[in-house]
């Protein structure tokens, strides 16, 4: 891991076309400005991890769940 210090208003360049600028440091919270091509996806780490966890918990464990699904849609029909 590369560790370096930056002051407010300074930035780092990652690769050829990603710039990360320190905008504000306030009470332990760092505000970053990121300049990157549209094709570069930027996620807060926890957002990606949350999606991964949700996918893992969505995996159906056994065939009984399939039968339960009908019940799910009885609820939907009732509500809409």
């Amino acid at each position: 891991m590369l560790v370096l210090s930056r002051r407010i208003g300074e930035s780092i360049i990652i690769g050829d076309d990603v710039e990360v600028k320190i905008l504000k440091v306030d009470n332990g919270v760092v505000k970053l400005g990121i300049i990157a091509p549209a094709a570069v996806k930027i996620y807060r780490n926890e957002v990606y991890r949350t999606v991964a966890q949700q996918n893992i918990s969505a995996v159906v464990k056994d065939a009984k769940d399939v039968e339960n699904l009908k019940e799910v849609f009885r609820h939907v029909d009732k509500d809409r």
């Binding site: 505000k31 995996v59 799910v72 849609f73 509500d79």
Partner: protein, 163 residues
């Protein structure tokens, strides 16, 4: 070709195999999936892994859940899926059904599955808006208010000013 899956064995043509070049979050190593439609679970379909016969995810048309749902594809999505015409894309949302508690099922509207029917490529994108656990039943207008607040918060902190 014959594939063994969580839902049984299926004989699939190459055209029915969807390749996810990056896998999906949590299953980065699984690249080949197919969508299976079972009469007994309609309108729920299945995103079934062809690489791991333990993995099957229930999916649903998100517009069945939220009429004004919107998916904005990123440049990266367009490149992964090799999109030429947006009408080639189908969108699915993954359902999470807690064991024995189907009434607590939720829909992941935040991270839909996108499949390009023409190229047979797929990806799971992550949207700025929407909840990852949108309740399937008993959703009230009150919780939709917090929904939009959440997406505003993310817009502010997720990206720099020019994105």
């Amino acid at each position: 070709m014959q594939y063994k899956t969580k839902l049984g064995e299926f004989d699939l043509s190459d055209k029915e195999v969807v390749v996810f070049p990056n896998g999906i979050p949590g299953f980065e190593d699984l690249r080949r999936f197919t969508v299976i439609s079972l009469e007994e679970t309609a309108p729920i379909l299945w995103l079934v892994s062809l690489d791991d016969d333990n993995v099957a995810l229930p999916i649903i048309d998100p517009w069945m859940i939220l009429e004004d749902y919107e998916v904005q594809m990123s440049q990266e999505d367009i490149e992964i899926l090799k999109v030429e015409d947006p009408s080639e894309i189908v969108v699915w949302s993954i359902l999470t059904i807690p064991m024995g508690k189907p009434q607590e099922a939720t829909v992941n509207l935040k991270a839909p599955i996108l499949i390009n029917l023409k190229t047979g490529l797929g990806c799971q994108t992550i949207l700025e808006k929407y909840e990852i656990k949108y309740p399937l039943s008993g959703h009230t207008s009150g919780s939709e208010g917090s929904d939009s607040k959440e997406s505003m918060k993310e817009n502010e902190s997720n990206y720099g000013g020019d994105q």
